[in-house]
Amino acid sequence: MNYKKTEIGKNITFTSVVDNKFNTCSLRITMITPMSSLTASDYSVAVNVLSDVNANLPTIAAMNERLSELYGAGLSSSSASRGDLHLLALSASWLADRFALDGENITAEMLKIVTDCLFNPLADENGFNEEIFRLSKKEILDIIDSQLNNKREYAITKALQIAFEGEPAAVISNGTRESAEAVTPLSAYNAYKKLMETGQFDIIFISPVEMPEVAEIFKEKFADVPRKSSNYSFYAPSPLKSAPVVVKEEFDVLQAKIAFILKFDTDDIDAVHLMCIILGATPVSKLFMNVREKLSLCYYCACRMSEFKSSVIIDCGVEKNNIEKATDEIMNQLNEIRNGNISDEELQNALLAIENSYNTFGDSHGSYISWLFDCMCRDEYISPAEQIERFFAVTKERIIKAAENVKLDSTYHMLNKETEQ
């Protein structure tokens, strides 16, 4: 893996990757700060404003026109959580200069736009421009409202909130409707300033040609920002509840959903990861082969790990009348692993699936960004090949131990009203 990582300011890392097979450039700036219900909406609205306009492109129309002129360049913001931290990101991507039909310097133009968004937002002493603020706030409120539109994700989010109750990770990254309603142009602007001064910054730039000047641009811009930043730890294990909690809610839906959150207390992350793959991350996993294929109970039944909260998520869409049957089978399959019923073939399949997936690293900008960001979160920079080696060193015994360590914490049921009667 060929990358260059430098510290361009206090807790500001800049990582560049040069890969000449691509015809585009990508830039992601992630601002990291503690997650809190008191600040989630302010930060989310703030980054939304940042990606909508800047002082030189002061309207949404002007910004969109410019991006469209630059061959449909993309500029967006996002608000998400990892561990107990809040990740606010500005992302941009654009066509490499050699594809410009009229000789435009697309990269220079995009760097100017992005740096203006970050360092020269449309604001004055009263905060962000009122009109843009109003639109951004509505955008965040709409995102909060639309969570129920995706029933599967909604059920998982509810389960995570139950499992992490009282912890920062239980806060939804955009906040609640109430907290978003309370955001003002000034409170969002103050949140932006606080983020610039105290946030940990991770910048990743991918381009087809070497461009050392990009890091320099950011270094110079940040030199004017008074930084009092902290370096945050992403790992925030969640304590296991004294007894598993089940929460049920009714909706006008046709299919019930179940989401389980299990927690583990082990440093053997690689073994837990492999356990998740064997249990429910492939079409030959235990959950797929049994809950779906053998018992025909569902269309999907899957398992994944939430590394930084030491948790495992299992979810399934099922008839309400079959919830108990599906739950029993899911737990039965987990017990199969605990009891050591892992065939050589299952272990080999899981390892090959991982190897296959990790070996495609580098075929997209997204894979570079995701890998490098994960390395930063783990505070350990290794190559995908090294990670594959670690997985291949995991023994069945370690997987069994990991499965024994994973304990049910919380369950959420989304129920359909009719069948509940």
């Binding site: 299919q255 779906r292 399949n349 070996n359």
Partner: protein, 424 residues
């Protein structure tokens, strides 16, 4: 004897290989040096709309239950000896399949040695194994898939709109059918559909990434069984130009109301790429985020950043769909109607059109730098009767008048359907 040609884009210089294989199969290959993954699609021109068909030797048309193409896709993953997923699992490749309105595709993605995966793909798709037991087993799984998609508001809002737009065309039927329609499916019907549509003359293999064309073709020579072209004919009922009804609203458990605003357009018999791209640029012009209409609706809180449009076209159907979240979709409809009239009266701004064209060009060039997108573009364009880079070349040649003509002649108020999923 197979025929081989190299296809190169005039605009970008990208190229791929097309082979009309002696078996009847169209093969598209794109070697992409520097990439480590391989993505392959083996597909048939058979989707949910192909419910009535015959072969040249048949006297009468056969009609089959709705959802059978999708059901067949599920069942093809079971071999006589073992499941197909298990075969791919032994190599580490990811495999999957999808059924759309007009095609069914089986795919794998992998890194490293792709040859075994290609053999598995070509083998299992040519080897159906349907029994009463394995068909019955699938009813429950697909039943849950149907329920899941019916809880998906984006899916509901689209099919509600299609039902209001099309009187007869089967595009209005859910791709997976209904729990009732799939209950009529049995092994014999599946074999009938398989034998009709899974003929290599009706199929395409598309593969891109870290591959060698010679190796791919050698494997094809080894695995493909020659197929006689049996003269497949699909039947679509006559579809009136007018719509069924202009509006439909349904309440669902959603947090944000969503809408589809569709325009029923006149479908082209074949090679509709130029019309599709004219429509696509017309839609981009109409929904341009720097336009006055967009920014007025945004400022009034009627739309948000989810507002956009697309062209939805296939055999016997062609429509334009604008969509997004809104608590006041009637106002979106009014504004769009007024904007269409204004554009039709005043014409298209040349500068804006050229900017939108540049943006479309940028999107197309970006697509060609992805292994997955490259293979997908190659299969989609072939099944639409075009060549892979025709889109880039056609877009570069389109004029403002093409988009204007589409807006004036096709986006008509009496062909408009508003479908809304509202909060309960």
């Amino acid at each position: 004897m197979s025929k081989k040609e190299i296809i190169t884009s005039k605009c970008t210089g990208d190229s791929c290989i097309h082979v009309k294989h002696k078996s009847g199969l169209d093969i598209y290959i794109r070697e992409m040096p520097g990439f480590s993954s391989v993505y392959a699609l083996f597909g048939t021109k058979y989707g949910s709309i192909n419910t009535t068909f015959k072969l040249a030797a048949d006297k009468d048309y056969t009609s089959v239950p709705n959802g059978i193409a999708h059901f067949l896709e599920h069942k093809l993953f079971e071999n006589e000896d073992c499941g197909v997923f298990e075969l791919f699992a032994a190599t580490g490749a990811q495999c999957n399949a999808y059924t759309s309105f007009d095609k069914t595709c089986y795919l794998f993605s992998c890194s490293g040695d792709y040859t075994e995966n290609l053999r598995i793909l070509l083998d299992f798709v040519q080897k159906p194994f349907f029994t009463k037991e394995n068909v019955d087993k699938e009813q429950g799984i697909i039943g849950q898939e149907i329920r899941m998609t019916n809880d998906n508001p984006e899916w509901r809002v689209l099919f509600n709109m299609l039902r209001c737009m099309y009187h007869e065309h089967p595009v209005k039927i859910d791709i997976a059918g209904t729990e009732e329609s799939i209950a009529q499916i049995d092994a014999d019907l599946l074999y009938k559909c398989y034998d009709t549509f899974y003929n290599l003359n009706n199929m395409t293999l598309s593969i891109a990434g870290n591959i060698s064309a010679d190796t791919v073709l050698a494997i094809c020579d080894e695995m493909l069984r020659p197929c006689e072209d049996k003269g497949l004919e699909t039947f679509f009922p006559d579809e009136p130009h007018h719509i069924v009804q202009p509006e439909i609203r349904e309440k669902q458990a959603v947090g944000a109301s969503i809408f589809n605003l569709g325009f029923k357009c006149i479908p082209e018999a074949e090679k509709f790429l130029k019309k599709e791209m004219s429509a696509s640029l017309a839609v981009s012009y109409l929904t341009d985020a720097s336009s006055d209409m967009y920014n007025k609706l945004l400022s009034e809180g009627i739309i948000n950043g989810s507002f956009g449009g697309e062209v939805f076209a296939g055999e016997g159907f062609f429509s334009v769909i604008l969509s997004g979240e809104s608590e006041n979709p009637d106002a979106v409809r009014d504004a769009v109607t007024a904007e269409i009239k204004r554009i039709s009266d005043e014409g298209i701004n040349e500068k804006t059109f050229n900017r939108i064209k540049k943006s479309a060009y940028g999107d197309l060039v970006r697509q060609l730098c992805s292994v997955t997108s490259s293979a997908t573009v190659m299969i989609n364009t072939n099944m639409s009767g075009c060549k892979p880079f025709d889109v880039v070349d056609i877009v570069s040649e389109l004029k403002a008048e093409d988009a204007l003509s589409f807006i004036k002649n096709e986006l008509l108020p009496d062909k408009m359907v508003l479908s809304v999923i509202e909060k309960i």
